[in-house]
Symmetry: C2
Subunit: 334 residues, 2 copies
Amino acid sequence: MPKVTIETVANRVGVSAATVSYALSGKRKISQEVTDKILKAVEELDYRPNITARNLASSKTWTVGLYASPTQNIREDYFFNNILAGVLDVLHEKKYQIHLYADYLDENNKDHPDLNLTQPIDGALIMNPRINDVYIQHIIQCKIPYVVIGTPDDRENSFYVDADLTAGYYAAVNYLIKKGHRKIILMNGSAKYTQSEKREAGSAMAYHDNGLNYSNDWILNVQMLEEEGYRVFKQTIEKISDFTAVITFNDTIAVGVLRALKEKNIHVPGKVAVISAGNTMITRIHAPSITSLDMNSYEIGSKAAELLVDVIEKKRIQPSHTIIQTHLVEREST
Amino acid sequence: MPKVTIETVANRVGVSAATVSYALSGKRKISQEVTDKILKAVEELDYRPNITARNLASSKTWTVGLYASPTQNIREDYFFNNILAGVLDVLHEKKYQIHLYADYLDENNKDHPDLNLTQPIDGALIMNPRINDVYIQHIIQCKIPYVVIGTPDDRENSFYVDADLTAGYYAAVNYLIKKGHRKIILMNGSAKYTQSEKREAGSAMAYHDNGLNYSNDWILNVQMLEEEGYRVFKQTIEKISDFTAVITFNDTIAVGVLRALKEKNIHVPGKVAVISAGNTMITRIHAPSITSLDMNSYEIGSKAAELLVDVIEKKRIQPSHTIIQTHLVEREST
DNA sequence: CTGAAAGCGCTTACAG
DNA sequence: CTGAAAGCGCTTACAG
């Protein structure tokens, strides 16, 4: 069974490969008559263009790389699903495909062989940027257009889409303060993520604007996993006293925190109020249901994808960013 | 800024492109001396091989296509996350990358233009196969190796990995019958998925082996979304009486069902017992926590990926399948 | 141990 | 409106 190429089609119709290519792409007008013959031959021969060859010749892959979290985090976080859905929907509409990369970065290992194995992409979407993110550095070195989902170090020169987490955490902490809370534990994410910085900043502003002091001891940095939220918070309960509220980096950590509280028979919200961020399905379902900061994750994903396509297609050259508003959804945990 | 190709490197070192290629791939021994010079030049020139060109020349892409659900479903289902994590982990280890496709099939539209836009892949992983699945048909036509996650129509000639759902639903329904339930509603998935068939079969067997009759009226087919589970079950409560238990296609539907029950003030498990399938995070978190059939979703994903790599690399030629055992995790809802 | 060259299957200026 | 041909940047038999 001989391989069917554009040549095969051209030969059968009696035209050049160029004509077949143009007829199929529509990049040049080909007479209706010839076009019909070509389409018929394509059908009969069951011709399928070799996309790799097309990509090489046109230096365009119609593919976008999505750099996501470690799989461990992906397993627990609906936030990823919502971002992903937004990204997928937009890219589908714009005819782009998606290459998904999980984060397998070994923090202890300085060389990152994987980075070079990447398939060719027209652009990249980078979730959860670290401070000094090696993925971003790699993408920049490869001269690939990219959009950060979250906030990168170099805000001036980057395209990015993020929720206004500083405002969000300001509002959330402010809300707690107005309710009379004075000592609020921040179960933040790992300090190496820029997202953690913003949460801390918003929180600090709220204390400040209310004329209150707070201590850095009240801020804990944990991995974004339920088990870690649970484990660390159990220790926290022993070490820190008198706190009356907790605000977490995300919903997953909140679930762990609530488990620790339940185990210690500490009533929520009677003794301790809890606020999470993400407003994913689990916040509604949990008992008690969890007050959560909605970040419009689907919209973050879709806006980022739209922006990336514009950047790839040079419809935008000047670095720009979109900041999406958050809003607090009150539930039983506060 | 001139583009750096393998030629650039070869010229600087004073060898042929072939030698550079071999030195880099290790497919032929190149003297240590020359190799060192090449590596130095690669470093200095910041040479990055064009993967598209490599793919074309070697007719190998090191990429696997993952055909997933519609994004609507992805948003709500941790089951997807767990499968995905298993797939990603194995493929990463085996040096393959992943192209993610959501299902945008328009059921009402007979031509599927998207299918032809696919990027070149070495193999495909197909989740949630439909009966007469067009994705599978397409992949077969393209002569691409594939593994089904779930059970395909043509079991004889396919590679696939699935949970033993028939046994799982048999066990679950049997468990309910032993507890005295006689009329159990099956909130099944859409009838066009093979997964729904298997659930129904296991359930039927359990009735049969206990010498009981059941009615097809007790089986409902719904989309795999919380809202649909809720909407349809609310009607069901009105239409069907005397049932004492519900078993659902997945966790998401169960959440909808439980919401409908709560709204009607029907106590769970006092009046109605509920079992779901998936055993994702939400079953633990929900109040009441949900008895659920664990399908080892991470393992399904990882086994499927392993199998696919073997098929791609011709380590397996004869169609084969892996059936993974399920187990029922008892919680408050029963 | 290394080189010269064909080939992968497309696209796209260049010509007419 | 169409063709002949160069080119995309690699890999891999074929030779020596």
